[in-house]
Symmetry: C2
Subunit: 347 residues, 2 copies
């Protein structure tokens, strides 16, 4: 039986979801997964921070109001976010990083990851920024410090895609992939197929909380582009930077385009893809594509995400599931911890 | 760098496919997977047998005609199938069992597996019979002898389903699954949606080599039932026997039923499924079901197979891919060997 001490960096929906799972399931995990988790620190730029090497009450953390400086209300808590202290000095074995994604330089999340890895702590993260923008550096840093750097949740929240490729497809030879990697834009397209205009479909997505006030990153493909970089570098051993991926979105599509496709037995989808070329290089893009209904991704509707791996030995193998959600994304962190535990237990 | 000695039991399409992969890719596997394979014996009830502890020429084996007693043509070969000798005395580390499935008692494949496991050899198999009918006994036998018993290919050929659940979903809590687990019946349904009668669609499937001369096992659900038993026992820790799974097929459906479904935004599919009940027991069935087009399995057409895992934390996670094919199924054996190598390397 193992117990891992964990510190949570960022305490929005995802790490709150993880705390909730810990509050509800820690005892079951001991039997089911062979370990339990003890939260020893939490820090959040908005809420403040709290630390206790003997363990914090997960249920109490979950119940904390989302108010500025709220951690000051708890015994030992403070309204200030002592990120570096929590990461380096809370006694954590594992840092769960789930702050916001900064698509320009990946900060401050990348620095949080660096601090953790340099201090010999495993890092699990659901944040696209650090891995898409600093993946090579951070992986090397983890390697040098003999710790794990896991980021399953950075692509499709809890739906396993990186780990599926790594663990179940060695030898099948992945030559490329195509993915529906943004639930908002896929939801918008699905509504447009019912006759809504692009603008009305976006408004509906906003009302349902699927789309941000500024939906640009979702509908213009910028969110997908980061995920394509992560997957291409992971699955195809590419060395892509974000600027290597040409990117366009779905805002140019009309309800008439979608109806025309329907009549031809096809559907428009926002596809992030990468393919290995004959010269060994990898070519990647994000763009709206008209897929015949027989295509493995044509049937993926609404907020569901999916990746279709193209392989030499199996042809297309496709995985689909949720691409967002707080508990779903918190599960990604759990699955990363399971992987760390499995590797550790086998050593 | 490891080398595993392997003996092939049954030399039809699947193990011939594995021999072909070995002939073509062994050198690449050393770099890519960290091991290579050496075939030290082959036995087949129709072709005879051959053994050489120093290794047989994989390309020569692949080129062997499919004629009765053909192994007698090769130096050291014989027209007789010395199954027990090849399994126990060829010096193999791993036995690749890919004989025909006997749905009544799983023999002689189950005996081949027993011989191998008792002799301290790992077993990889694509055969539904041994695991569906003797799974508990054979897993215990492998455990007692400290060897692996792997059977990824018994459910969806090379498409990872057992390993995906085991490796990527721990903690998500699988509560059940639904699957399209027979390519022939799914192909028949897809053709019937184009207006063909059941009988004509079956005839087309036979002409294309998808369906056997006697298509009963495919279209009446008996093939799926074995796969449901395997998955339920594996994923839900059920102790189901084949007779516990109620089973009906698609022969009662008409083209008119399918057209009616289409008009209602739905599709008929042959679904194998199992669900954990409130009392902890597992209830499983095979039956034709009308699925709304939004269902994750509704879009699976033609000979593709798919399983949708129902989970507490992620909702539905679905994997789809080929469900048959000689190279695809041979890959399942390779993926089992990769798993054995990974477990061995970490010890």
């Amino acid at each position: 039986m193992s117990e891992y001490k964990i510190a949570l960096v960022g305490f929005g929906g995802v790490n709150r979801g993880l705390a909730q799972l810990i509050a509800e399931r820690n005892a079951a995990w001991q039997a089911e997964l062979g370990f339990s988790l003890k939260i020893v620190g939490v820090t959040d730029l908005f809420l403040g921070s709290i630390m206790n090497r003997d363990g914090l009450d997960a249920a109490q953390l979950v119940a904390l109001p989302a108010a500025k400086g709220a951690f000051a209300e708890l015994p030992g808590g403070t309204a200030e976010a002592f990120n570096e202290t929590i990461i380096k000095q809370s006694g954590a074995d594992i840092i769960a990083e789930a702050t916001f994604t900064n698509p320009v330089d990946g900060e401050p999340a990348a620095t949080f990851c660096r601090w953790a890895l340099e201090s010999g702590k495993h890092v699990v993260t659901t944040n696209k920024g650090p891995i898409a923008l600093h993946g090579t550096e951070l992986k090397a840093l983890a390697e040098r410090n003999g710790v794990a750097f896991e980021y399953e949740g950075s692509v499709m929240s809890g739906t396993p895609v990186i780990r599926m490729a790594r663990q179940t497809l060695p030898g099948a030879v992945i030559t490329g992939f195509e993915g529906i990697l943004n639930g908002t834009s896929n939801y918008v397209l699905t509504r447009m197929e019912e006759g809504l205009s692009f603008a009305d479909a976006v408004r509906q997505a906003q009302e349902l909380g699927y789309a941000e006030a500024d939906p640009t990153a979702d509908v213009e493909g910028f969110d997908v582009r980061l995920k394509v970089v992560i997957l291409a570098n992971e699955l195809l051993d590419a060395r892509l930077q974000v600027s290597d991926v040409r990117c366009s979105g779905i805002s140019g599509l009309s309800a008439a385009d979608l109806e025309q496709a329907r009549q031809a037995g096809a559907r428009w989808k926002l596809i992030g893809s990468a393919q290995r070329q004959a010269d060994g290089s990898v070519c990647a893009s994000v763009e709206a594509r008209r897929l015949d209904n027989g295509h493995p991704l044509a049937g993926i509707s609404g907020a569901t995400n999916a990746v279709s791996f193209n392989t030499e030995l199996l042809g297309a193998v496709t995985v689909s599931g949720p691409g967002a959600g707080r508990i779903e994304t918190a599960f990604a962190l759990l699955s990363d911890i399971v992987a760390i535990h499995t590797a550790h237990a086998q050593r």
